[in-house]
Amino acid sequence: MAEKPRLKLPKEAKKGEIIEIKTLLPHIMESGQRKDKDGKPIPRKIINKFVCEFNGKAVFVASLEPAIAANPYMQFHATVEESGTFKFSWTDDDGVIITAEETITVT
């Protein structure tokens, strides 16, 4: 089973502030280019999509290819005008979606 994602963002911010968000999901990101010891290709298994939403609105979306390194790391920004919840989701090639949430207080 997939491991827990790691999130780093402030708990509090001022209205209109641009905050920095860092996320990391432990994942092998098997590229599909590698071969096992018998020379058979190892099938691709990557996180192909990352989505960050704030109060239901898309903030940042990344479509990922096998060229993203293992344990996909994403750093991006968000403008916050109100308190609310950030929702993060990672979609695996096998259809599994891993999610995480974090709230922020905006004053």
Partner: protein
Amino acid sequence: MRPLSRRAALALGAAGAALAFIGLGRRASAAAKEAADMIAKFTGGKTAEQGKISIELPEIAENGNTVPLSISVDGSMTSDNYVSEALVVADGNPNPGVATFQFSPLSGKAEASTRIRLATTQNIIVVARTSKGEFFTNQKLVKVTIGGCGG
């Protein structure tokens, strides 16, 4: 069979190396073409203007398995005019696609950082689109000591 003379063995080796080199060259140019096709698809055939994008990458990546990449697109991020998307391609990887980032006015800044895999020394090309349909591009060469695509 008569054992190979030293000279013949050397000649064979050189021919082999030359062949391998041609093979690699062909593969690299195919990737570059695929990268160009991806960009053309992204822009819909429009010409992207040079500039407005900064790409941060190490000049020499010792380990192609994980290379830090930061891109930043200079532009307004208001709801009626913002940087909406950025395509990142690597023109020497087996698959040139790296990532597509979609920004929104809520992003505040059209900036993203991640870590990427690079098979060999190559160009990283970024093409950005604004909500008004303008395109900007920039690229950066990165030297890779050990490729990161497994074998």
